[in-house]
C-alpha cells in the first residue's frame, strides 16, 4: 500500500475521469436541464467563460448528477460495503426525481463508481476513505478554482464529444 497523500491524488484522478466521462456520455453540457442551470450558464458566459461548460456547471449545481453519485457511492462502500454502494444508487435516483431530472446520469455514475471503488478496495491498494477525499478534490477542480478556465476546458471536451456523435449517429 502506498502513502496516504499519493493514494488520495490517484483516487482524485480516477474519480475525475469517471464523472466527466459519464457526464459527457449523457450529454450534460448540451442544454440546461432546469431554468436555474440556464441562468448560471448565462452568468458564466457573461464573465468570459464557455456556454457549454456553464451548462454542465449549472447542471451539477442544480441536480445530483454523476459527481454526486461518485461521492455517495464512495461513502456507501466506506460505511457498509458493496450493499451500501447499491443503496446509494437508489438514493441518488430518488434525489434526482425530487429535483425534476430524469436521473439516468446520476444512477449510472453511481453504479460504475461502486464497481470501481469496491474493486479498488478489494485489490488492497486503496482504502474507501481515499475516494471520498479524492472526489472532493475532483469537484474542486471543476467548480471551485476558476469558473472561466474550467468551463473552457469542458467546452473543449464537449466539442470533441459532439463531433464523435455526429459521425456515429446523424
Amino acid at each position: 500500500m502506498l502513502e496516504e497523500p499519493v493514494r488520495i491524488l490517484i483516487a482524485a484522478a480516477i474519480c475525475w475521469l469517471n464523472f466527466v466521462t459519464v457526464d459527457l456520455i449523457f450529454k450534460l453540457p448540451e442544454k440546461g436541464g432546469v431554468i436555474g442551470a440556464t441562468a448560471i450558464a448565462e452568468q458564466v458566459e457573461a464573465t468570459g467563460g464557455n456556454k457549454n461548460g456553464g451548462f454542465m456547471m449549472g447542471n451539477i449545481v442544480s441536480s445530483p448528477d454523476a459527481s454526486a453519485g461518485t461521492l455517495l457511492a464512495a461513502c456507501g462502500v466506506y460505511c457498509s460495503g458493496l450493499f451500501g454502494g447499491l443503496f446509494a444508487a437508489v438514493l441518488v435516483y430518488i434525489g434526482n426525481r425530487i429535483c425534476y431530472d430524469p436521473g439516468y446520469a446520476g444512477t449510472t455514475g453511481c453504479l460504475t463508481a461502486t464497481l470501481i471503488v469496491y474493486g479498488a478496495v478489494q485489490s488492497g491498494w486503496f482504502a474507501a476513505s481515499d475516494f471520498i477525499a479524492g472526489m472532493v478534490i475532483a469537484i474542486l477542480t471543476i467548480q471551485g478554482i476558476s469558473s472561466m478556465y474550467a468551463s473552457r476546458l469542458i467546452g473543449r471536451l464537449w466539442r470533441i464529444r459532439s463531433r464523435f456523435i455526429r459521425a456515429g449517429r446523424p
Binding site: 431554468i35 452568468q43 451539477i60 459527481s67 461513502c75 471520498i132
Partner: protein
C-alpha cells in the same frame, strides 16, 4: 486521518470563496463544493449503515435549496395571480 482534514479544509476554502465572490449566480458552484465536503465529513465521522442515508439526505437537501434559489432568481416560477 488525512482524508477528513482534506474535506474540512476544502469546505472552509470554498466558504471563503463564497464570501469574496461578487456575482450572485457564480456563488452557487462554491456552495456545491461546500456541500460535497460536508457530506464527506459526515460520512467519515462515524461509519454506521445509517450514515449513508444522512449524507445523502443532506446532499439532496442542499442541492434542492440551490435549485430553488437559482430558479427564483431567474424568475422561472410563474405566479398564477
Amino acid at each position: 486521518m488525512i482524508a477528513i482534514v482534506v474535506c474540512a479544509v476544502l469546505a472552509v476554502y470554498a466558504g471563503l470563496r463564497v464570501v469574496t465572490e461578487r456575482n450572485t449566480m457564480k456563488k452557487l458552484p462554491f456552495v456545491n463544493v461546500i456541500s460535497f465536503g460536508v457530506a464527506g465529513v459526515i460520512a467519515l465521522l462515524l461509519p454506521h449503515p445509517l450514515t449513508i442515508l444522512a449524507a445523502a439526505a443532506y446532499f439532496v437537501g442542499s442541492t434542492l435549496e440551490s435549485n430553488a434559489i437559482a430558479s427564483t432568481w431567474a424568475g422561472g416560477m410563474r405566479r398564477d395571480d
